[in-house]
Symmetry: C2
Subunit: 331 residues, 2 copies
């Protein structure tokens, strides 16, 4: 007789854009979960959710929601909700995987991309942070490159989809393409690239840019890594693209480097320019892998490359990565 | 009595996307031109053009077109036409300003952005090259920065509009947004960022990327400048945006650097993040200036910045720059 351990899992923010995608990923993964409970704000409570052949009524999140005991809770409900409720859940023995930026840079909170630093899950105080979408897809290829060639400096320029701003971002693209005024973004996203994601900080960078810089350092365990970033919203529905310039300490063979990426976890190498094959937003949507291509030597530094990295920001950048963290902890 | 010199000017490729914009710019500038003649391929010959209150019939370009004598000819008709007809025009004493890439890297052909290197117009063999659109808008701010702080290395990532691919590029955006198949680009541009402009070369770069690298060096007279580029087509109708990371030899004061750009020719500084003011494609369309903003110190190098540079690729990136060259030579 074989006894399989099963868990009780809560999903907080089940009715948002990431929450809905999380349901899809949970349906596909069919984790060893004996009981699912779905929470939302008062506004969306009472909605019905279908998962793995069962029907659930979404409950309102309250301070006593975690009293009944949970093994895991995935929070996709924004920073304010996380700050208030994640510590309550954690104090009742529930391991929280939080999608917001609320706890990411806390020293006692692991910031995890399972393919990259699942070892960091060994020590935590019941709160694990899911990194920012644009960081997750970047560190998946950067990690094996750093292990082998030692990264010296990274220059990020991103091409981020409107789905990263939730349903209102998606609505803004549709509305401004029809000539209507924007509601979510400060300017029309139709026919524009907005070099403005999240709020501006005193140093002239956006919070999104500083997330990429700081989270890359934390996840790669390189607190002094030289990184800079320009993060840009583009009129694309889903999946972020990134132009990443990387300088290494050590020399490399370009073919070996490509094979290294190809054989690294979570990566699909799409790099056959003769056949016009390179990562594309539309082709990566719906997948959990990070797609990497256009890899070429940067002759402006002794040892460097440029590459083009694309991933589904709602799946790998949020929902799937959080669920992969839970999955890793169940093992 | 004052005698004003007037000139005879030909526009080759008058019916294309750049040609039509050139007509608009010529209308606005009202240059000292006594006679305009418009040429096109056989297909478009016979069309009617209105300019400054007069009507013109477009003529078919032939090997004898320049026999009647011209002072200037602006070519916006692609590389093949330029290679065949520009030398004929030049041999008959006509100064050709060519928009294609056919002659740009020739040693005896000046490659000119008037705000940057109009001195290069002093020596030529009747052919002047107009740089690539993405290069033009980049070197306008890079030149004053190089003069003052000495540029060490540049990393370009571009966000290029479909108008850069002509009318068929514009049609592809419209068609693929409706779900139709692309005709111009290798993949649907709707909801995608294509890291593929012009053809791929043996070194893994696109021709567009190598144009940016080589033309930047030539225009700035820095043949060994360290430059790398990733050029990307985005689903934007008009105006290219660029994320430019610059490393300097010398230190700088950020406010002084911004003032330097603000006071440099051809630049509009749009950098007031507290009011969400930064360059945008839609706002720059229809202008000849280069818009620069999001200027901030890059802490990953001793002396560096990131900036966001936007310009109308059909005007400043092609038609207007060519006409500004003609204008500079008339003076």
């Amino acid at each position: 007789m074989k006894i399989m351990k099963t868990y009780k899992l809560a999903l907080v923010g089940a009715t948002g854009l990431v929450g809905r995608t999380a349901l899809q990923v949970l349906e596909e993964k069919n984790l060893p979960v004996s009981e699912y409970v779905f929470f939302s704000s008062k506004k969306s409570a009472g909605n019905t959710i279908h998962l793995l052949g069962k029907e659930y009524v979404v409950r309102e999140l309250t301070e006593t929601s975690f009293d009944e005991g949970f093994d895991f809770a995935i929070f996709s409900a924004g920073g304010e909700t996380a700050k208030k409720y994640a510590p309550i859940a954690a104090s009742k023995g529930c391991v929280v995987v939080d999608n917001s930026s609320a706890f990411r840079m806390d020293d006692d909170v692991p910031l995890v991309v399972p393919e990259v630093n699942s070892d960091d899950l060994k020590h935590h105080n019941n709160i694990i942070a899911n990194p920012n979408c644009s960081t997750i897809q970047a560190v998946v290829p950067l990690k094996p490159l750093d292990d082998k060639y030692k990264i010296k400096r990274v220059v990020y320029s991103t091409y981020q989809a409107v789905s990263g701003a939730g349903k209102h971002g998606v609505e803004d693209l549709e509305n401004t393409q029809k000539g209507l005024e924007p509601k979510k973004f400060p300017h029309p996203i139709a026919n524009n690239c907005l070099p403005h994601i999240d709020v501006f900080l005193d140093n002239g960078y956006t919070k999104e840019e500083m997330k990429m810089i700081n989270e890359t350092r934390k996840i790669l365990h390189k607190p002094n890594l030289k990184v800079t970033a320009t993060t840009v919203r583009v009129p694309v529905l889903n999946s972020h693209s990134e132009s990443i310039n990387v300088e290494f300490e050590n020399d490399f063979d370009l073919e070996e480097l490509k094979q290294l990426l190809k054989n690294s976890p979570g990566i699909v190498l799409q790099d056959d320019i003769e056949k016009n094959i390179y990562p594309l937003a539309t082709n990566s949507s719906g997948f959990d892998e990070v797609f990497v291509g256009r890899i070429r030597r940067d002759e402006s530094v002794p040892y460097g490359i440029n590459m083009w990295v694309v991933a589904d920001n709602v799946r790998k950048g949020a929902a799937s990565n959080a669920i992969q963290i839970v999955e890793a902890m169940m093992k």
